[in-house]
């Protein structure tokens, strides 16, 4: 399909009229018929040219008002086959996670892969066959400081933030659809010392040094947005300046050191429509002229009943690139995440080995946010 890329946000963002006439959006909880909250099998399988990528997650959908977002599907029999008559059996290594025990196994571009599942109720599911595309190379991942108009306290201001872009080059592949997964990692640091209380007897305030294992941590955050793009109706299939992320002033990501790893791969039309559909129903809601919502089914069908499964199975060669952004390289004002914490009078006390109680763990232990184990790439 051509020319899909112009996204007609027919009446953008939330409504004009809403805003004009103090119209509004309020929370609202409709009464739902529980019999419709079927437990549908959800498949998440993405195999790549990286060793150990033969992994499929199985879960079931849950009613919308439940606390958890899914339940794991255990006891299924999962295999992946290719067009070279190979069949790889995946073993459940933890609830809902099925993995090939051969950690060196990787998928090969040009081959056709297919996923088969027999669930705990003996229902058979199958994915459509997927031809694994070769990798579209990332030309460059880079960032620029750019201003964007935002509103703060009803004032229009131009806010300078840091935008991260990717340029791709795919002249031979002639790919039409791209997807990116990003993984951001940044370092956080606790203050050297915090105000703490002595828990024995009459509490009194004192300064306590934060130990190193609670002081230095690394926070990792994976893709939050669905980053897909069609270049089908572009004269070249080259991706130029596709924005992956924007870091605004006032965040803590850039305070010490920041890194982003970008994975780039191409999609077939079926998967592009799938991801675009997922993005549309989940992110573009709320305008007057919304498209009518529909359930987005991927490429997994059930072969002996009418039941359809949710999710997808896909195979692609992936190109990766990581960049670092150091503190002095930009002028974006980011803050120490814990700055405001020093002044917070939180009653949740936190124990220190020295016998003191901090006002809050969030102010005294960086492990509340990430890990204190330095990543390999750091």
């Amino acid at each position: 399909m051509k020319n899909r890329f112009i996204k007609y946000h027919l009446f953008l963002s939330t409504l004009f009229m809403v805003a004009l006439l103090s119209g509004c959006i309020d929370p609202f909880k409709p009464v739902l018929d529980k019999s419709d909250s079927e437990k549908i099998l959800v498949v998440e399988g993405f195999i790549t040219d990286e060793p150990g990528s033969f992994e499929v997650k199985l879960s079931r959908s849950v009613p919308i008002d439940t606390m958890v977002n899914y339940v794991n599907e255990s006891g299924a029999y999962v295999t992946i086959s290719d067009d070279h008559n190979n069949t790889f059996v995946l073993t459940e290594v933890e609830p809902g996670v099925y993995k090939s025990l051969d950690e060196t196994l990787k998928a090969v571009a040009g081959r056709i892969y297919q996923l088969s599942i027999i669930d705990a109720f003996d229902k058979e599911y199958e994915s459509s066959p997927v031809l694994m595309p070769s990798k579209p190379e990332i030309k460059e991942v880079y960032w620029e400081e750019e201003s964007e108009t935002v509103f703060v306290d009803n004032e229009v201001i131009d806010e300078i933030g840091l935008n991260i872009y990717v340029d791709g080059d795919d002249l031979e592949n002639n790919a039409a659809y791209y997807k990116w997964d990003i993984s951001e990692t940044w370092e956080v640091m606790m203050p050297n010392a915090i105000t703490a209380l002595d828990g024995k007897g009459m509490p009194y305030e004192t300064f306590v040094k934060v130990p190193d294992e609670k002081k230095y941590c690394w926070v990792t955050q994976n893709t939050q947005k669905i980053l897909v793009k069609s270049v089908e109706n572009q004269s070249d299939s080259e991706v130029k300046k596709f924005m992956l992320q924007r870091i605004r002033p006032g965040e803590d990501k850039l305070f010490i050191r920041y890194s982003i790893e970008v994975k780039q791969y191409t999609l077939n039309k079926e998967m592009y429509d799938f991801w675009k559909g997922i993005r549309e129903i989940n992110q573009d809601a709320g305008s007057l002229y919304d498209k009518v919502p529909v359930s987005i089914f991927g490429n997994i069908t059930c072969c002996n009943t009418n039941e359809k499964a949710l999710g997808y199975f896909y195979a692609a060669e992936v190109d990766k690139k990581r960049i670092f952004i150091e503190k002095g390289e930009h002028e974006i004002v980011n803050v120490n995440r814990y700055e405001s914490c020093l002044y917070v009078s939180d009653e949740t006390l936190h124990y220190f080995t020295s016998g003191f109680w901090a006002r809050s763990a969030f102010c005294s232990d960086c492990r509340e946010y990430g890990t204190n184990i330095k990543p390999d790439f750091w």
Partner: protein, 912 residues
Amino acid sequence: MTNSLKIILLFFFVCLSGLQVVGQEKENLISANYSGIALSDFISIIEQSGIFKFYFENKTIEGKEVSVDFKETPIGECLKEISNQTMLGFYLEENKVYLFPGSEIQKDFSGSEQIPVDSENKSVIDKSLDDLRKQEFEIITIGIPGKSGNNEAILRGTVKTFDYKTPVVDGNVIIAGTNKGVSTNSRGEFEIKLKQGNHTIQFSSIGMKPTQRMINIYSDGKLDVELETQIQVIGDVDIFGNQQETVAQVRSGVERMDAQTIKSLPALLGEPDVMKTTLMMPGVQTVGEGAAGFNVRGGKTDQNLILIDNAPLYYPSHFFGNFSAISSDVVKEAILFKGSIPSKYGGRISSVYEINTKDGNSRKISGVGGISPLSLKAMLEGPMLKNSSFFVSARSTYSDYILDLIKIPDLYNSQVSFYDIQGKLNFELSHKDKLKVGFYTSNDKYSLHSDTLYNYQNRVFTAQYEHLYNANWRTELSGFNSFFAYDISSEKDISRSFNMTHEVQNYGLKNFNEYKNHNGLILNFGADVNWYDINPGRLNVPEESRIIPFISDNEYGMEYGAFAGIEFSVTPRVVVETGFRLSGFLSLGNGSRFVYAPGKPITEDNITDTIVDSKYNLKQSYFNPEFRISTNFLLSSSSSLKLAYNRTSQYIHILTNSTAISPTDTWKLSDEFLLPQLGHQLSTGIFKSFNNGEYETSVEGFYKRIDNLKEYKPGASLVLNDHIETEILNGKGKSYGVEFSLKKNEGRLSGWMNYTYARTFVKSDSPFESEQVNGGEYFPASYDKPHNLNVFANLKASRRIILSSTLNYSTGRPITYPVAKYQLGEQVILHYSKFNQYRIPDYFRIDVSATIEGSLKANRKFDSSLTFSVYNVTARRNAYSVFFKSNGNFYEGYRLSVFATAIPTITYNFRF
């Protein structure tokens, strides 16, 4: 409103005492002596003499007493004396005495004044309003006794407005006491056959004060009548001038709205709106506030033919559907045909909405104008050349200025503006030839919190020529050009800049001939042709842009129709109107098109070949005979039962897969894949009026079926798609419902109450499972709102203050809710219910308005009024939509309200 006079002849047998009426040879001298006798008794006594007859309304003389002492006094002087005592007005004609309330026309009293007697060549001319009103009580003698051979006579005449002497078109001329009547033609002329003798003829028309004439007809003759306009002050309301009309009219499912009705409804932001008024009618619904268009009896929004002066209007709204594209100042009347559609109309299957603009004041220059918080408007009309007239109207918003003042994030970088200009020239070429030339253009521009600018426009030219061969025959030739286009552009970043357009060109020509005779037989026939030239969509880009331009070939098509209709009385109580329309469509080729594998779903994967057509090569032809019939059984003089069947077809469709119609939806002609939409409707209704037309009630029921309804595949991509047929399904629709209506037409308090129960279902009609929505089962249409209640009340609180209020209630529209959630990676994703399985909360809204007139002085040159209105006075947050959005890992439901608060407005209007 004047109640129709009840003329009652008294036949009291009261003992004669002290009354002498001296013989005729002595000039009708009266001798009488009474003290404190009831006037009614006195009249009886005089009538007992057998010489004089009195005509009056009972309540006029109620409680009046007289004391008289006449000795051979001439009747004229007697009456003068009685008049002095009772403050009643008198009129004497031969031996007939007419009594009126008030003594204001006493000065005209003269026993010898000649009532203009009408023969073929003379006509009654109204000299002043008093004279005009007096005519209601006169007996007018028409023709010459003994001239007519048989005992029948034909009465001809013209009905004009008193104020401007413009013809009253489609006015009603009814013989009182019967349901026999005719309507006036476009020159206000009528012709009716009567038995010789005395008759009361009633005249009425929308927006005019009904009147009557008492005639004594001997042979063929002429009677010209002028009607007073009801529009005495701005905002003055008279909802329905034509009493009894609904009962007598043969068609069912017809809603008429005149300018006064439209203006009397409380308006959003002070802008009276012809479209919003439509939504108050039974059987008419909308998807929600902020949605353009309306749904008639389960039809889609593109199934309404909206005509301004016979030309279709493609996008009838400004400002996201919140305002009608037509200024209410130029509307003479608007008629919605939702049940029986006359055979002269075709091309849309659910309704015809005929908006007729006024002809312009042919007497003097006058105008109206107004300022509301949103817009400025002005309309000027007046005479031009000899016997010709014009009007010109303009409206514009200054909302950009307001937008600048509002500092809220969602409005930054936004602009909204619109204007419309409309004009008409009305040439009276000769007594028998009339030419009307009209022009309309509208333009909307907006950009909402982004660099993308949306712009859409309508442009309509119309010309109507009418020729009268004689009083029975007339012919009409009309032509139009209607153009609709939008463009969406973005120019901020040169490499991403584009301009996307869509254009609809429609030319049409129509011939309509009508024969009416005095027996109520109406015959009509004619033909029409429509030429369509549509550009589905173009994407233009500057050279530096990295976007690939998209060029599409124009679509061409020709729609034609030939029609004939007849309306006649089978028996005096049964009237039948039947019509036949042969409609057809030629889909013409231009450029390349795809061929799909037979027996397989129409998808991109199944394209087998590409054919290149030469321009105007016939690709596909459709032909649909359409039969229509309406019958009216008069059950009594105030009630009737109607039955109607209608078949309609449609060859042009809006492509939209959003809930509401938006200006960026594209129009598409039928072709080899998109079959014409076909509608069948069976309707019936019982109509009854009470208290001489003060109350009108009706119950109407309908069943409608639509074939080849346009449905879309999930997630269909409808813009810039050169194989649009892969996204569209030919579906089926069915709807049924009952509409109850109660109207109060007269009195200080007037208004209506309409309740509708209706259901509408659609299904996608495809043999392939992959193309079915909801597994191919019927599901409720997005505009299926079973219960609907509309109430309108208008109260003349005082001579200067008019209060009005509307109430709207309807069931919430169907919606698809998420019923389950699951997780993919870090994303929590929603899984939806069956299509339209749930409903949003019910809709309820009350609007109120108060209009205060500036001056009540008669003959004022400049007149103004202030209207205070509050839209949504209960500030109820009516849901337009319910949607779900993720906040981190949690999904929460939200309700979106368009007008979530009470919106007060002050509007200033003036006229001169």
